[in-house]
């Protein structure tokens, strides 16, 4: 069964959607969309480093994302520049550095488009293993820190004053986000990854009255987007990564229009 590329794509895509759903909710709640974008852009630098040092791409992307996340936290403390300026600076300079590094390595032939916009249809059994093992690991960690991370999201001050440790929760969150970026890159690529994090979560907002509910609904929306995107890609012969994102956009538009109609009546 796993020998069929389309089945492999579905299994990989569903795995990614399951883990990005709840994490995407935190990205939305914490207004970290641009932060997520910066981390995923930096993944291209991770790819270049992996090829240069001949190490595993997933591992290299994970380490690079963690490094960029902490570089950002460090810069935010010391600098007077606003966060969005720093994010823009890091997002685009890491991608530029990655592109230059790749261009130097004339001895490797890389599918740049695949890294930028995803290459889900070429997914291997090994990729699926990485997605499911890594994804499960992230989900377990997330469940363990869920309550504390949520309290730190609602009010870091209350959380800290009342004996929780929001810095530690934030630290775990960064690590989890970097790991998710590393394992999901194959599906939609570094340019479109943030969309997969935030669009299902944003669509889920209108239907949720508790954080857990929103996490589960965004998983369902994510899975539907993957399925819808993959089937349209097959049907209309269009690129798979962008199709998944457009599918999630259509779902989002449907949810807000439904919301508008409900408001009117």
């Amino acid at each position: 069964m796993l020998d069929d590329f389309f089945i492999r794509s579905i299994i990989g895509g569903v795995g990614v959607a399951t883990v990005v759903g709840p994490l995407g909710c935190f990205v939305v709640w914490r207004r970290l969309a641009y932060f997520g974008d910066t981390l995923s852009h930096s993944a291209l630098l991770g790819v270049a480093l992996a090829l240069l040092l001949q190490i595993n791409i997933t591992l290299s992307v994970f380490i690079t994302s963690v490094f960029v996340a902490f570089a950002l936290l460090f810069l935010q403390k010391g600098q007077k520049l606003s966060s969005d300026t720093l994010l823009g600076l890091l997002a685009h300079s890491t991608i530029a550095l990655g592109l230059i590094a790749l261009s130097f390595m004339t001895w490797v032939r890389v599918d740049l488009m695949g890294f930028l916009f995803g290459d889900i249809l070429s997914i291997t059994k090994r990729d699926i293993l990485i997605i499911w093992v890594g994804g499960l690991l992230v989900l377990i960690c997330l469940i363990l820190v869920w309550k504390k991370l949520f309290a730190a999201t609602v009010s870091p001050e209350i959380a800290e004053a009342e004996g929780l440790n929001p810095q530690r929760s934030n630290f775990f969150f960064m690590i989890m986000l970097a790991l998710v970026i590393a394992i999901s890159m194959k599906i939609v690529g570094v340019m479109l990854l943030t969309a997969l994090l935030i669009i299902p979560a944003a669509s889920a907002r209108h239907f949720s009255t508790s954080p857990e509910q929103m996490a589960i609904i965004s998983i369902l929306f994510g899975i539907s987007s993957v399925l819808f995107g993959l089937f349209s890609s097959l049907e209309f012969d269009i690129p798979a990564g962008p199709s998944i994102i457009v599918a999630s956009l259509i779902l989002f538009l449907f949810t807000i229009s439904k919301n508008l109609i409900l408001k009117d009546t």
Partner: protein, 248 residues
Amino acid sequence: MSKKENALIKLTNAGVRKNRNWLVRGITMSVHSGEIVTLIGPNGSGKTTTAKMALGLLGLNEGTTSRKNNLRIGYVPQKLQIDWTVPIKVKRFISLTTKISDKEIEFALSLTNTSHLSDKEIRVLSGGELQRVMVARAIALSPEFLVLDEPVQGVDYKGEDAIYNLIEETRTKLNCGILLISHDLHMVMSTTDKVICLNGHICCSGTPGVVTTSPEFKDLFGERMVTNLAIYQHNHDHEHLMDGSIKK
């Protein structure tokens, strides 16, 4: 037992600096069980900063702080901005940091007259409603040390009185130490044990009576305020219910 031994928190010559400016400096104060300490002072005088030092939210640039081990703290911050995308109901907000039973949640909400809001989402509450819910949440934790940073902001006149009464009742019931930041000098006069008057440093401190007659207080708040305060210094001989009628 001497008073020093059972202090819940104690700041000694504490100060916090932002860049090159001292936000506050030379703060020495303590809060004991069953005691209400009120911080007053003009805007920017370091009231919130002092409260945050006491809570351990800010690293000190000088001085020391000591807190009782495993101190159970309830905190009502001055501002709470929850992004509208966070789906959280009042009930869930009450047990944000500690698991609290439904029965206790209901009871805490009834104290601030907000039981009807328990299934509402936080984002639809008005400023005053949110403030009441925050007070209910802090009390529901049955804290040993309660910090309230301007707890009646945006609360209507009747509600204000009720919340101040509630704070006093809570002190008696839980025997907790309370650090209160308040602009309402009426409250300061009637229920506070100790007033600390701040303006970047401690201008004067002591019982309400001592503080209001000190020249530093007059300097800070002006003659008019001091004269106006005189009318507040009377004994309450009756209590109001939530609807304003007199409690019999």
